[in-house]
């Protein structure tokens, strides 16, 4: 009995550990195995296909589009949110009147679901009725904004909506980091004659390195997982021009009954996330071992 009581802490942890072990690690293993089978509509583990499913994914024109879009979206989404987030944080840090109200405005999109964001921007970007019409009525007659109907441009609509939604989060990260910089460093830099922009460029921005790392990791993994926004904003279209790895996976698994191919694409997504996350988690936990 006493022995059992000594184990109480570990025992209380057990239900959660079992759940996570099964539904995270177990399921990853199952999906990996599935990706090597001939599963189509239902999972089956008796007929093997080997790595041909991965070749099928990589040779598929839709995956090619998905990877190209992922590159465009990933780079512009991370770059855009970092740029706007940093700019707003630095400007907000200049003893601004009504800072609280402005912060609230920049950050509220983070409370919305990507579905709401997608629905709202789809409406705003509707040619003839949305922003296009507004600018024309305000006097800019030749204004055109019909990207959402153009195969080549629609992915940039996804970028705009994504940046709109997440920039406030990066702003909050950077603002917290700015306010956490050791004042002595700033004082020392001032003594050395740094001021204004050069102060920011040479002293403050380098001091924000950890915040940059966090922002890139968080936004990067969101970019890989991105699904809802595309579904609500463009439905993957026009055609499949805004396909992302996530929509590819869903389409093949649930609509086309190509479960093994879908599983292979899911494994590819996991690999992308791991490349980003594992080094980060490793360094976080090592440093955290105080």
């Amino acid at each position: 009995m006493r022995k059992l009581r000594g184990l109480a802490p570990q025992l209380t942890l057990l239900p959660s550990l079992i759940l996570v072990a099964v539904t995270v690690y177990g399921f990853i293993a199952v999906t990996m195995v599935l990706s090597l089978t001939k599963s189509r509509m239902l999972p089956r583990f008796d007929r093997w296909e080997g790595f041909d499913n991965y070749a099928r994914v990589w040779n598929h024109p839709r995956w090619e589009v998905a990877m190209e879009n992922f590159a465009i979206f990933g780079i512009l989404y991370i770059g855009g949110t970092l740029f706007i987030g940093l700019l707003l944080a630095i400007f907000l840090d200049q003893k601004i009147r009504a800072e609280g109200a402005l912060r609230t405005i920049y950050l509220y999109p983070m409370a919305l679901s990507f579905i709401v964001t997608g629905v709202a921007w789809q409406w705003i970007m509707t040619p003839d009725l949305g922003l296009e019409r507004a600018f024309q009525i305000w006097g800019w007659d030749s204004f055109e904004f019909d990207w959402i109907t153009q195969s080549e441009m629609a992915i940039y609509c996804v970028v705009i909506a994504g940046v709109w939604q997440a920039s406030g989060f990066v702003m909050a990260l950077f603002l917290a980091a700015l306010r956490g910089i050791n004042p002595e460093i700033l004082a020392a830099a001032k003594m050395d004659g740094a001021s204004g922009p050069s102060m920011y460029w040479h002293v403050i921005v380098p001091a924000l390195r950890p915040a940059f790392l966090t922002a890139i990791v968080v936004q990067g993994h969101l970019a890989i997982k991105s699904y809802d926004l595309v579904v609500a904003l463009t439905g993957g279209g026009p055609g499949f021009s805004t396909e992302l790895p996530s929509t590819f996976m869903y389409e093949f698994t649930f609509s086309r009954n190509e479960m093994a191919v879908g599983a292979s694409s899911a494994v590819m997504m996991l690999v992308l996330v791991m490349i980003l996350i594992v080094p980060y988690l490793y360094s976080e936990l090592r440093d955290g071992d105080r």
Partner: protein
Amino acid sequence: MATARNRASFERGFVYLVLLLSAAFFLMPLIAMIFTSLKSMPEITGAAGFENNTILTPPKEPSVAAWGAAWSSACIAVACEGLRSYFWNSVLMVVFAVAISVMLGAVNGYVLSKWRFRGDNIVFGMLLFGCFIPFQIVLIPMARLLGILDIAGTIPGLVFVHVCYGIPFTTLFFRNFYVTIPDELVKAARIDGAGFWSIFFLILLPISTPIFVVAIIWQFTGVWNDFLFGASFAGADARPLMVALNNLVNTSTGTKTYNIDMAGAMIAALPTMLVYIVGGRYFVRGLTSGAVKG
């Protein structure tokens, strides 16, 4: 001297200009949504009498008709009963998913910070990894498991899924919070004979309100806003609001009714917006503490 002052005030003006233009950019979609939801379709399409209407013009004849339609009569797939029942599906799902995942996270965080054992950091790291996985990797086996447990397509099934993938986050929040509470507090209580549970309930719980608020807001927002799990696992009767909203807007046939679409989007957005406005401070803390060390 005068030019230096001019330059300083010019810079200041520039900073304010950028901040205000950004505020306009962030507010514009919300304003467009609200205005559109209060207009009639002829006004939206700029029919006779409304030639100068834009998405950012305030409604000439404001009406909540579209809100009523979105709530109780708009057609989603074959049923024309609005978003109402899906709204309550989401409420039910959120209440249980948040309560269970937050309670489990609190106990997990307590064990991982105050009852350290060998390998606890590895356990924590393995839990943390669950925060980042792309959920596409678990969709197929989860569908199977829900079938085996006989909760496929149901709200309890969705609650189960959200609890599984909420635990890593809630554990992270509570663990990082309890780490900052001095160990001496726990040690002193142990010397006084307090056991595992009494230390948790009598010493830690009373001071945990802030982190409970953070975890509840985080989970509430995440579960309420979820689309992927709802779309993958919910049967017709258990569909959450976000899935229904997407169906309302993107799969309806015939002319698009933008006013009803926007009213629906506002209905879906209001609960989390409200939480954000009331508990903004805790919302931001959740966002950044999930990401920032310590």
